[in-house]
């Protein structure tokens, strides 16, 4: 199907099913019940699942296949956001041209930065990309304020030209991003008994694009080009000796993954038409590294899972506060419940970063292959055989 092998086609179908039924899967608890806070089926979060999924898929094409660890990938996301918002300001509120421009501009950025950075490898490459991203961030914050909006970020205004659209709606509001009349923020709710499921147009738009980019990633992974990238990761020197110049391949991978990041940025701006410099900060770059590793480097599904897990934790953990915890531990004797509340409070609410940090460290230490490896190990335990397979499938960490 679609020129894929059966296994990959099944994987694609699985992800497609996940994406289509996400509003159901993510809302397993009835509205108003005590567990409802673990529901993640609201549009904003689902959109972010899809968008960061794209970002991580793209990052994985670079890091997972070639082993080059970029610490500045958020710069492309930021550039993509800016490009998309400018398109909304100047052309029209249709998301298609905005996303196309976002991809093109971030691709150009990636071409320039990649051309320079890829002259070095290993930790130097990480630091070069980091340096470039920090430069972009610093400039966006200061000198480029006319283009980027500086600290306040780039926002739409009532007097923007919008040549093909309208500057303002008849009611005098800023128009919202849409796709040929379909507004991105529109959603309709379906109530089934105590459950409420929300279907959001923006989310489904993101999900379709995510599926397309996932499909593309599978094709890249299985292509001769993907094989070449893997060869670069496993032994670049040998590749050199066979008379191949690896740089065009790594550069292509870098540009592709930069375009993925730009696509994610463009989508982000399409869902919520503003762009800020903090999206380019190196902590944001660190986040995508986290997602990819959490899910499983170099695997197809890993980055999507990792992005989902991280964003889920971010939203759900940060909602739990001390009051909720006290409710949970109220069945215990007083002193004990206080200790438990104190201890668990370290990991939830505003401190959710601690949880992700700890999980991330544990994954690196014990499970270098991420969630995918965990799944393999668990299924291996049940099968009690082909231990060697799981060992050889362990993702080779990049140099």
């Amino acid at each position: 199907m679609f020129g894929l092998e059966k296994k990959d086609a099944n994987l694609l179908l699985f992800v497609a099913a996940l994406a289509i039924f996400a509003p159901f899967i993510l809302n397993p608890f009835p509205e108003g019940s005590a567990m409802a806070q673990f529901n993640a089926g609201y549009p904003d979060l689902m959109q972010r699942f899809a968008i960061f999924g794209i970002f991580a898929i793209g990052f994985n094409i670079l890091f997972g296949l070639t082993g080059y660890l970029s610490f500045g990938h958020a710069a492309f996301l930021g550039v993509g956001s800016y490009a998309a918002v400018w398109m909304f300001k100047l052309l029209s509120m249709n998301v298609i041209p905005a996303i196309i421009l976002a991809v093109i501009i971030s691709g150009l950025f990636a071409l320039v930065i990649g051309y320079v950075s890829l002259r070095r490898s290993g930790i130097y490459f990480s630091i070069l990309t980091l340096a470039f991203a920090q430069m972009c961030f610093a400039l966006a914050y200061s000198v480029l304020t006319p283009i980027t909006g500086g600290e306040t970020g780039l926002q739409l205004a009532l007097d923007d030209p919008r040549i093909l659209g309208v500057s303002q709606t008849p009611e005098g509001n800023i128009p919202v991003p849409g796709l040929f009349g379909l507004e991105m923020r529109e959603s309709f709710e379906m109530a089934v008994g105590p459950w409420v499921f929300t279907f959001n147009i923006g989310y489904y738009f993101c999900a379709i694009i995510m599926l397309l980019s996932f499909y593309l990633a599978i094709r890249i992974f299985r292509s001769p080009f993907g094989m070449m990238l893997r060869a670069i990761k496993s032994n670049q020197q040998r590749l050199n000796y066979t008379g191949l110049n690896p740089r065009p391949y790594t550069l292509a991978a870098f540009v592709i993954s930069g375009m993925y990041a730009g696509l994610a940025g463009g989508l982000m701006a399409s869902m919520d038409p503003l762009a800020g410099a903090e999206r380019m900060q190196w902590t944001a770059s660190g986040e995508v590294v986290l997602m990819t590793i959490l899910g499983g480097v170099g695997t197809l599904i890993g980055p999507v899972l990792g992005a989902g897990l991280l964003k889920y934790m971010e939203n759900i953990l940060s909602k739990i506060n001390k009051g909720v915890l006290e409710g949970w531990f109220s069945f215990m004797p007083d002193g004990m419940s206080d200790t438990f509340v104190f201890l668990t409070n370290l990991f939830v609410g505003k401190q959710w970063h601690i949880t992700t940090g700890v999980i991330f460290m544990l994954v690196i230490i014990f499970l270098p292959g991420g969630l995918v490896e965990l799944g393999k190990r668990i299924s291996g335990m049940f099968r009690k055989k082909d231990d060697d397979n799981t060992k050889s499938a362990k993702a080779e960490p990049a140099e």
Binding site: I127, V143, P368, P397, A398
Partner: protein, 343 residues
Amino acid sequence: MDAIILQILNGLDKGSAYALIALGLTLIFGTLGVVNFAHGALFMIGAFCAVTLNKLLTLSHVVIDETKTDFLGNPLKVQVPYVNDIFGEAAGAAIIDWSVPLAIFFAIPVMIAIGVIMERGLIKHFYKRPHADQILVTFGLAIVLQEIIKYFYGANPIPTPAPDAFKGSFDFGAAIGFDANTIIYPYWRLVYFGFASLIIGAVFAFLQFTTFGMVVRAGMADRETVGLLGINIDKRFTIMFGLAAAVAGLAGVMYTPINSPNYHMGMDFLVLSFVVVVVGGMGSLPGAVLAGFLLGILESFASMREVIDIIPGINQVIIYLVAVIILLTRPRGLMGRKGVMED
């Protein structure tokens, strides 16, 4: 001329901080071969050692002072720090005033302990793993450490003043024959520079003139051979890690009066310090120090009005720009050894 001297001086304090952190980073890299992304967090923890000591010293209890009254004539409640009770009023006040320098003695054991625990508990298991894994795990550790600090101390910067004796500024211009008030430099920054030079000198002397340092240098050059000679090099490297942590911590302690510490100061400095290490040359201690001061001074020159007018925004990107140029033209950095991490 006076403007140039002023900028050089301005660059010195930031340069000192860069140099100290980069020195620790290089020590760790040179000895253990580990790229430590948590080094900025150590710098930050050092700064919070000063904050903690300050808080501990100013712990107070309420005393009703009969001699003072509020406007209704009731006796006034006064906060009296416990140190005043122990050492008497004058000495107590002096101790609180000098809390930042005193924090040095508090920070050294704390930082060495943290460093050793970190090395034995975590880093040890990553010697044989690729650099990317080391970067990632220490990056995770840095996140955890910084968020824990944020949990206990809050997200806002905590002002921690220098002793009163060092408040105010030194009229450097008048001292070397320029007009008065052209080159004014806060005393504490001079202290910081002096302190940094002292630490750097001490580290180099330690490595150069002691037997322990000699063994460590030998281990840096060829770990295996030193091990074959029957020397427990791992233990010494662990101690060096503790020492590097202490250097970063002290840099943080003394930096608190210059810049009120907040939980993300470590990350801010870390990125720059890495750039410093790369510019200086991976694994080269003198290179790290030189590049630290050089980049600090360059940064302060780039933030001059005249320079910004010519190239807007240069002050924000100068360090990264230098790093990019150095990495592309001289891969091993300013003073890096040939063949060390050159690819």
